[in-house]
């Protein structure tokens, strides 16, 4: 918020126009995560993925470009930029071109409502969580579009699977989020994070702030909720063991089989941006968001300007930690079949999330 006000004041002082100030500040503060978060994070995450997988498999991974290959993804991006953009004759051209943009903007929209620190949140909307769920539903349309317009049977199968998967996994996600909304009474992510301030025992996973009986009763159900949410968000971003839409060994690479060059890179980047987004949501809901678990160095030293920076670092490291767990899972597990995926969702996750919701509701009433 500080960022927005800061920009607004600068523009307002120059132009003396509230509208101009508002628009400029909004555009710039919305573009900030794209430039300083999504792109660098995608580059970092791709490199991390390669290194993590390599070391888990007793390999070295990229080693040549830069120290331990950290420039490898940048080199890959440059390569992808140079590549020919192939559009086959039978592709549905407008949809084919639109799909990657839609997928990417869908995953980028989520970043608008993420509370990066107390000083910066792209858009501090009161319906933060609901907005994120709605925006990530956008991705489905893009994926379906990509699968359909590619005019490829494999792509179509992948897109169909993906749509079914994302739509059904939104239900347990929402159910778990609903339990949190029930406890905290807010859908604003910033308020939610502020509620978990102080030390780590104030995090939602440990029952939230306060010291009542209900706090301790919450703990097991919060853990169940966290696991359910983590699994279902994993499925929403199409990661192993739920990477069925792009199941490499069955569908070649699913809905983006026909894409090349920068369009492919957009799908790719959207995937990694999504990974961070869902990890950030999980950490914002259960692990205190941008709150430090031990208090702030800035407060101890009396340098209050340091606190938002520390908060940002905590937020990023929590997000990256959950991304690393996603990678760890990916390189350990085989993938499920499409009907088993649905069975897992409808027979296990949804009933568990529902029972969890009811129990948490009862405890709240107490």
């Amino acid at each position: 918020m500080i960022v927005y006000d800061f920009l607004y004041n600068i523009v307002f002082n120059i132009t003396q126009s509230a509208v101009a100030g508002d628009i400029t500040a909004m555009v710039i503060s919305a573009a900030l995560p794209l430039l300083f978060l999504v792109l660098p994070f995608a580059i970092l995450a791709v490199w991390l993925e390669r290194k993590v997988s390599a070391h888990m498999q007793d390999r070295l991974g990229p080693m040549r470009t830069g120290s331990h290959g950290w420039l490898q993804t940048i080199a890959d991006v440059i390569k992808l930029l140079q590549k020919e953009d192939i559009v086959a004759n039978d592709n549905d051209r407008p949809l084919f071109n639109l799909a990657p943009i839609l997928v990417f903007s869908g995953s980028y929209l989520v970043f608008a409502a993420l509370p990066f620190s107390s000083a910066y949140i792209g858009s501090n909307i009161d319906l933060g969580i609901i907005f994120i769920i709605a925006a990530s539903g956008f991705v489905v349309a893009g994926i379906l579009m990509a699968g359909w317009s590619s005019n490829n049977k494999y792509s179509l199968l992948g897109a169909m699977r993906s749509a079914a998967q994302i739509v059904s996994y939104e239900i347990p996600t929402i159910l778990v989020i609903l339990t949190i909304i029930m406890i905290t009474g807010t859908t604003n992510l910033r308020t939610l994070s502020e509620m978990q301030t102080g030390y780590f025992w104030n995090w939602m996973i440990f029952g939230g702030a306060g010291l009542s009986l209900s706090k301790f009763l919450f703990i097991p159900f919060m853990i169940i909720g966290f696991v359910t949410l983590y699994i279902s968000t994993l499925a929403e971003v199409n990661r192993t063991p739920f990477d069925i839409p792009e199941a490499e060994s069955e569908l070649v690479s699913g809905y983006h089989t026909e894409y090349s060059g920068m369009k492919f890179a957009m799908f790719f980047m959207a995937e990694y941006a999504n990974m961070f987004a869902v990890s950030a949501i999980v950490s914002a809901i259960f692990f205190g968001g941008y709150q430090s678990p031990f208090g702030y160095l800035g407060n101890t030293l009396g340098l209050t300007w340091m606190v938002p920076i520390e908060q940002f670092l905590w937020f990023a490291s929590k997000g990256i930690f959950f991304v690393l767990v996603q990678m760890w899972l990916r390189w350990t597990l085989p993938r499920l079949r499409v009907d088993q995926l649905m069975a897992l969702c409808w027979k296990y996750l949804i009933p568990i999330a529902f029972v969890n919701l009811i129990i948490v509701g009862l405890i709240t009433v107490l």
């Binding site: 993590v52 888990m56 007793d58 070295l60 080693m63 760890w328 899972l329 350990t332 597990l333 296990y348």
Partner: protein, 186 residues
Amino acid sequence: MKEYFQNIWYGFSTIMIGMRVTFKHLFVPAVTIQYPNVKLKLPERERNRLYVNMNDCIGCDQCARACPVSCISIETVKSIPGEDLGKTSNGKKKALWVTKFDIDIAKCCFCQLCVFPCPTECIYMTDVYEYAEFERSSLVYNYVTLTPAEIEAKKTNYAKLEAEKAAQKAAGAPPVKPAEKEENKQ
């Protein structure tokens, strides 16, 4: 109901076991190497590119006959009496000029069948494995040490000898003195 929770527990615990295995491997040193910078020491019996030591080759054609893919082609010209072709390292006397000894390494299947019949052990497999070329024709290795002019000379000499022999046979005359000698190998 019991089965339901058992399923959940079973799924959860086996995933944890699997994750423990992969986590342990994060700290196991890598088994791969950075190939062009680091190279493995190859065992002494390594079978890679063929090499022919022409000093020892007697042109017996046994390797070419053993080859299952016919990647070796040898042509020889008999030496004319009086020519000294030298000896091989294991004491065999050479009697043939090898005018063509081509190995098409692109065809070679690295079976080593050509190596065993060689009486002088002049054809063998080395541990050289980096010999990619831009053109397929450069993979045909030419091992002949004679220059084309020399080859031509050997051929004409032999043809002359043959012709003389035939003429003498026709005339019934005794053989003439050997044809003019030429400097053999360098």
